[in-house]
């Protein structure tokens, strides 16, 4: 296991008062809370913070942790000295039904993994629901049109036959249903941590995020696409072929199409009970005047097409 510097995690000096610890926790909890923070590693930061706080807020655990000394560096390979905790009583040892997340191996090595050491006496039967797990799953737009399967690996704490908590890695293949949208959650009942005693297993929640696409933008179930047009296509009208995630389609561009005009391709957005639409946005482009004949054509337009786009700015 690796040593964890709880003071560093909380940004505190080792002589911080209990009041400082509480204050630091509140401040950092607001900053790192995964439901609020936009930091990509908010979940891990928040978990580390919770673990650090669980130790430092409790004077007994804090004293035991301080006893390890100051020579350890965060991340250093760590083994607790034999009987290091002989003189300490942890009133809080054991499973914290308050819904605390599973703590690190380091924490569990020091203070017990909750279930294992706290409840081996067999005095009381103890049932608790297993923890819920949360994970992110990245899909691409094509997956939302056709459905897909994603493999994710989860680390789940489990209790072995000897009553010890071990972390087991497991792979899960998950079906991503057709029609899934960015920001949606998928609930997988019973795929979280196993329950304790007769408690039911926790659930797994997946946050669906979309991989950015080189040319489609997604808004809910609608898909947006910028399509460059030449000035003559926009001015004279044309039929052009445009891609959509469901396949290429022909789109009639009416004469006199202006930059930014939106065309709706009905029901060609993300499929579902009510399918989304594809919006094609016309983007006018300017051919470069980089050779003699192009320059000549522009000159001809200048001389033969009376056009003043700045009329409204004139005094």
């Amino acid at each position: 296991m690796r040593y964890k510097d709880y003071y560093k995690i909380m940004g505190l000096a080792r002589d911080a008062s209990q009041d400082d610890i509480k204050k630091a926790y509140r401040q950092l909890a607001r900053r790192y809370h995964p439901d609020v923070s936009d930091k990509p590693d908010a979940e891990r930061l928040f978990k580390d913070l919770g673990e650090a706080y669980a130790v430092l807020k409790d004077p007994e655990k804090r004293a035991a942790y301080d006893e390890l000394g100051t020579s350890w560096k965060a991340g250093q390979e760590f083994r607790p000295p034999p009987d290091w905790d002989a003189g300490f009583e942890f009133s809080g040892r054991g499973f914290d039904a308050g819904g605390a997340e599973a703590f690190s191996d380091f924490f569990e090595g020091l203070f017990g993994g909750g279930v294992g050491r706290g409840f081996t006496g067999g005095r009381a039967r103890f049932d608790a629901q297993g923890q819920d797990h949360h994970a992110k799953v990245l899909v691409n737009l094509e997956d939302a049109y056709h459905g897909a399967t994603r493999s994710i690996s989860l680390r789940t704490p489990e209790v072995d036959s000897g009553g010890h908590v071990i972390t087991r890695e497991r792979q899960l293949n998950i079906k991503i249903p057709k029609g899934v949208r960015k920001g949606q959650r998928i609930r997988l009942t019973g795929q979280g941590s196993p329950g304790i005693g007769n408690g039911r297993a926790g659930d797994l929640y997946l946050d669906v995020d979309f991989e950015p696409h080189p040319f489609y933008r997604v808004d809910g179930k609608d898909v947006y696409l910028d399509v460059p047009l030449t000035p003559w296509e926009a001015a004279l009208g044309a039929t052009i072929e445009v891609p959509t995630p469901g396949g290429r389609v022909n789109l009639a561009i009416p004469a006199g199409t202006r930059d930014g005009k939106k065309f709706r391709l009905k029901n060609r957005g993300i499929p579902g009970n009510k399918a989304g639409h594809v919006y094609v946005i016309a983007r006018l482009t300017l051919p470069p005047a980089d050779n003699e004949s192009a320059k000549h054509l522009y000159q001809k337009m200048r001389d033969q097409m009376p056009y003043n786009p700045r009329k409204h700015l004139e005094g």
Partner: protein, 109 residues
């Protein structure tokens, strides 16, 4: 290694949960859910509470409210305010994303 394919339920407007489901998932009393309904955070369909049906996204909102309240030590009005502001930030971000990409040079098709 345990490898099988599992299918989940998308928490959208097509799935429904009862008051009891919400309480069980959130580990809460029903009075707590009543307050969220009263505050306009959750919008169940159905007249009587026994017939109340909450959408999948309501279940997700309730879970989020529960976490915020527990982890940040907030009262319910605080939670409601945070949820509303988060929703607003989300919609502004998505609009910003659309505007930003409108101004970028057009990608080749």
């Amino acid at each position: 290694m345990n490898r099988r394919t599992v299918t989940g339920i998308v928490l959208d407007e097509q799935v429904f949960y009862s008051l009891k489901d919400i309480c069980q998932v959130c580990g809460s009393q029903k009075e707590w859910v009543f307050e969220l309904v009263e505050q306009g955070v959750l919008h169940p369909t159905g007249e009587e509470e026994q017939q109340w049906q909450f959408s999948g996204s309501s279940l997700h909102t309730a879970m989020k409210a529960r976490r915020l309240q527990r982890d940040l030590d907030l009262n319910l009005s605080g939670v409601v305010l945070v949820l509303e502001l988060l929703e607003e930030i989300e919609s502004l971000r998505s609009r910003l994303g659309m505007l930003a990409s409108n101004n970028e040079p057009t990608a080749a098709l």
